[in-house]
Symmetry: C2
Subunit: 354 residues, 2 copies
């Protein structure tokens, strides 16, 4: 139901996704009559791999978290997350109100042991043609150094398990690369991460700056949710600006129009490589369940990308893997108690340490 465009985007995106992924099944959660009407409009009212689950209420984009959490107990968001909790669904994807999605997820799914606060992790492209994971992107606007430390552990675990690189390079977003740089929180976080590097828990490569996100200097960029959110939105704003300049200049004269026609393939590749939709679908990390957040303004293609990302995480057993990796990291780190708890819950057997 969520996002700026609602079912007009989420239903076509679901159908496109199912067209690509022949073994996947989707449960569409929301106002049943509206969803079925939209399916009918798309000639898919009897799709064999779609189930519709009714939820009478909708969390609005401007609903305060309190309303979403306490009042709307039959919202599509809440019902969907409850299904993840019950094991009826493997993951939840939503384009709705971020604050509400995080609060409901936290309330129903709880956080992993060793995690005080879940974080939102997005994947951005870099000049090395690889991904840069960035977290937190807005779940935590006031962070202590310990939270940044946990974000680093979670980001490292996610990257390791999705990208198949056991020692991802972790960078701490700062105003300069020297360790004396930054505000008090980030300086202290730098010390914690340095200790984790010394004891072999993390591959911490020190402070990085804003431009390093795109230069691929490190694999995972850690920051507080305020900085991360502002930076991400500024990046998106610049992306749109750039695209508009590109389009308007190529349309501005006949000769340019002809040139653009001939340059069509390059322009298409450029649009494709820089298309922010491809990177839609941020992971809410640190929960005992998979929840993915699509942009509210996502179009059908972007929303399909977010579903794909959730599907990929399910296929790769990312949740179990992250739990395992987190337990290992915490074992090396200071938080042994949390590590034991994770292992016990996941039935992970104690291994001999070399």
């Amino acid at each position: 139901m969520g996002g700026d465009h609602g079912l007009g985007v989420t239903v076509p995106a679901s159908l496109a996704f199912l067209g690509q992924e022949r073994a996947a099944q989707l449960i569409l959660v929301g106002q049943k009559d509206l969803i079925e009407a939209e399916l009918k409009k798309n000639r898919a009212e009897n799709h064999p791999r779609i189930t519709v689950r009714n939820a009478s209420e909708v969390v609005r984009m401007d609903d305060p978290i309190e309303i979403a959490l306490r009042r709307k107990k039959d919202s599509s968001m809440r019902v969907a997350i409850q299904m993840v909790r019950n094991g009826e669904a493997d993951a939840c994807v939503s384009a709705g109100n971020t604050g509400a999605l995080m609060a409901i997820s936290r309330y129903l799914l709880k956080t992993m042991p060793g995690v005080d606060r879940p974080a939102i992790c997005a994947i951005l492209p870099n000049q090395k043609n690889g991904p840069t994971y960035v977290l937190d992107l807005g779940a935590n606007v006031d962070c202590a150094a310990e939270h940044l430390h946990q974000f680093a552990l979670m980001g490292s675990a996610l990257f390791a398990n999705i990208e198949g690189n056991p020692r991802p390079k972790i960078g701490l977003l700062n105003v300069g690369t020297e360790s004396i740089k930054g505000n008090e929180v980030v300086k202290k976080a730098g010390e914690l991460l340095h200790t984790e590097h010394e004891n072999g828990t993390l591959n911490f490569c020190g402070n990085v700056e804003g431009n390093d996100i795109f230069e691929g200097t490190c694999d995972v960029v850690v920051c507080d949710g305020f900085t991360g959110n502002v930076t991400l939105k500024a990046i998106e704003g610049l992306g749109r600006f750039f695209r508009n300049v590109l389009v308007s200049e190529f349309r501005s004269s006949l000769l340019n129009g002809l040139g653009a026609l001939l340059a069509g393939k390059a322009l298409k590749t450029i649009r494709q490589r820089l298309n922010p939709s491809r990177f839609n679908g941020a992971c809410m990390l640190g929960l005992r369940g998979l929840v993915f957040k699509s942009h509210g303004s996502a179009d059908a293609y972007a929303y399909e990308c977010a579903i794909k990302r959730a599907h990929e995480a399910v296929k790769r057993s990312v949740l179990l893997r992250i739990s395992t990796t987190m337990a290992e990291l915490l074992q090396n780190s200071k938080d042994h108690q949390a590590a034991e708890k994770i292992k016990k819950e996941n039935g992970i057997q104690e291994q001999e340490t070399v």
Copy 2:
């Protein structure tokens, strides 16, 4: 002497600037023999509008502020700022160590009345083909709400006097537009700015998000130096990424190459509109003197733009105007004492209030 490229950039930039501005004069401050050798290399050893002023030391990019401030008393940076203080120069432009430049400027020039901390203000392009002023970009990594309040007053005064718009729209950079959004500092700053809007001091349009910088939602965007610095560098990183994708795709095939040739004019305009060099030259705002900071990595064209910006500020008597505007703003605001002080210093006569 400063910047990543030193005299190889600053001297040609100075000559290009003087070629454009026929009435301007430049004082090149630094190691005299090296500067004169560079001038000779550019066949300008006897340029009638260039004076060379010797300074035996150089502040390095990685010098701690303490070293720059206390040890290197004959650095080019310090000598240049001292000349501004003495009235021998109207403005100082440097591509050197930002922290050192700010610390020395603050020490020698002092801050304006009503200003606790100077801020760095850059001008970015927006989709409305106008400028967006953003401050602070790194002078203050730990800010209280009162500092953001002062940045808003300074930014408003700068925009008003450079752009000739007496009521610039001020936005507070945040993670959402609703007033309940953000961390504690930004929420409190929002309240202070709202009060200033109510009493007519500022034209505060509320919270803005990262993307608003490029959408031209407001004229001046206020943020703490940590967020501002990270965001600016991320934007620059993305800009370089875009440019590289553009260039590499157009070169990747002969047909694309031909298309690019025909699309040449559009590409040139795009490069020009998006060229970050055009926007080089950030103003160190809140000092009793004009100091402009060029990017360390600036090439000659970018450095020339920074000199132009400083020259423009001198021509428009920006320093006196800002002092006057700040006095007016502070008169309306709570800080009457500071307002009286500014007026007295600038010889501004008391006017009847309507």
